[in-house]
Symmetry: C2
Subunit: 206 residues, 2 copies
DNA sequence: CGACAACTAGACAGATCTGTCTACCCATTC
DNA sequence: GAATGGGTAGACAGATCTGTCTAGTTGTCG
């Protein structure tokens, strides 16, 4: 127990708890699951892409299902770090920060590695009565919408919670449309629609 | 060839071209694919649920992939028939018809058989470089948004095409949020957001 | 009756899936 | 040097997948 954490002597990357093999597995699984779908990718493909042995995967995660959860949690954390940092960086008014949402999404959509939202896709291809993936997804969305609601509140929105969730609708809609159409322009359209939601905020001008 | 169409002597249901076995297969496949995901359901499960033999499935569709396409095309057609009829039925102004969009979606979300959008889910769990399912999906969305754009035009929208596509964002967003949260209230939220998009239309009143 | 068409039941082949297991490698540490 | 722990390589079991094939059943029509 103690040795497991106290070990990892050389690698200084990240928190130092993750072993390199575990990290390579997460990266490979993320890439493959997002591109081809979770059920369409076998663990043999994941370990081949990660360059590890199959036993390493099962030692680290226990099952493919647990690997999927770990992938979603890691990918969600990284995405939120990137997205929320994009909102919060530098000097800006709350409304200006809210207006960054869709340009940021546009950057994401334009990446050749953009395959839609891993959470939405994962839920879509699993039993809809399954609650585990939905719980992970809801936690992720709550973290994102929570920050947006704070900004809406600072911006003086009459109903910050409602505004945040309506922006959430536009966010998810834009993600889905961008995945289907392969057109990052969905972000521009959503930005425009969001402006219509911002008219109640004081500092607005077409 | 001719016999295949000219036959089906007794059954008078529907257009009469579909054989009962084929229809049962489509119904069973739709139910199972939507609920559990396409890749998670094998053809053995489909034929068992449909009460047919496996050979009947392959005789009628040729492959599981073709069955999937047939399911999406049939389901899309039925959904559009229901949805567009809901918009167009009875006497109403174009804006009133546009305002029916989200209450209609709310009815859909509230059904216990609601498992999200089969098109979105299908694309999400397949290779994102695959174009076949995307083409079917785009055709479906085009049919829906085309009618919405006509209504927006009749309603005097300054940019009917843009309004239609923005409503499309809210529609897809609401579908996804309803699937994730299992809360039909996403439709109300979207209806409210849509009202903000309608302010440019003349006959609007909070 | 005989031909025919649609369907059923289920065996079967071959591939692939998840998960386990053995045997070995190698670096670090005591 | 010996022990240890993380990793590799890959065989293996057992299930399940898609798709094919054979044989038999049912019902219709001439």
């Amino acid at each position: 127990m103690i040795a497991v954490v106290a070990a990892t002597p050389m690698m200084g990357d990240g928190p130092g708890i993750e072993s390199p093999a575990r990290e390579r597995l997460l990266e490979a699984a993320t890439r493959l699951f997002c591109r081809y779908g979770i059920n369409a990718v076998g663990v043999d493909t994941v370990v081949a892409e990660a360059g590890t042995a199959k036993a390493t995967l099962y030692k680290a995660f226990g099952s493919k299902e647990k690997l999927v959860e770990a992938v979603l949690e890691r990918e969600g954390r990284q995405w939120r770090d990137w997205f929320l940092a994009g909102l919060d960086t530098g000097e800006a008014t709350p409304v200006e920060r809210l207006r960054r949402i869709f340009p940021l999404l546009g950057e994401w959509f334009a990446q050749d590695r953009f395959y839609g939202c891993p959470f939405i896709n994962a839920i879509g291809e699993h039993d809809k009565a399954e609650d585990r993936l939905r719980a992970i997804t809801i936690a992720h969305k709550k973290a994102v919408l929570g920050r947006i609601e704070s900004l809406a509140l600072e911006a003086g929105a009459p109903d910050a919670n409602r505004l945040a969730h309506q922006l959430g609708l536009l966010i998810d809609g834009a993600i889905v449309v961008a995945m289907i159409s392969k057109d990052p322009g969905a972000a521009l359209l959503a930005a425009d629609a969001a402006d219509s939601l911002f008219v109640a905020l004081g500092s607005d001008c077409g």
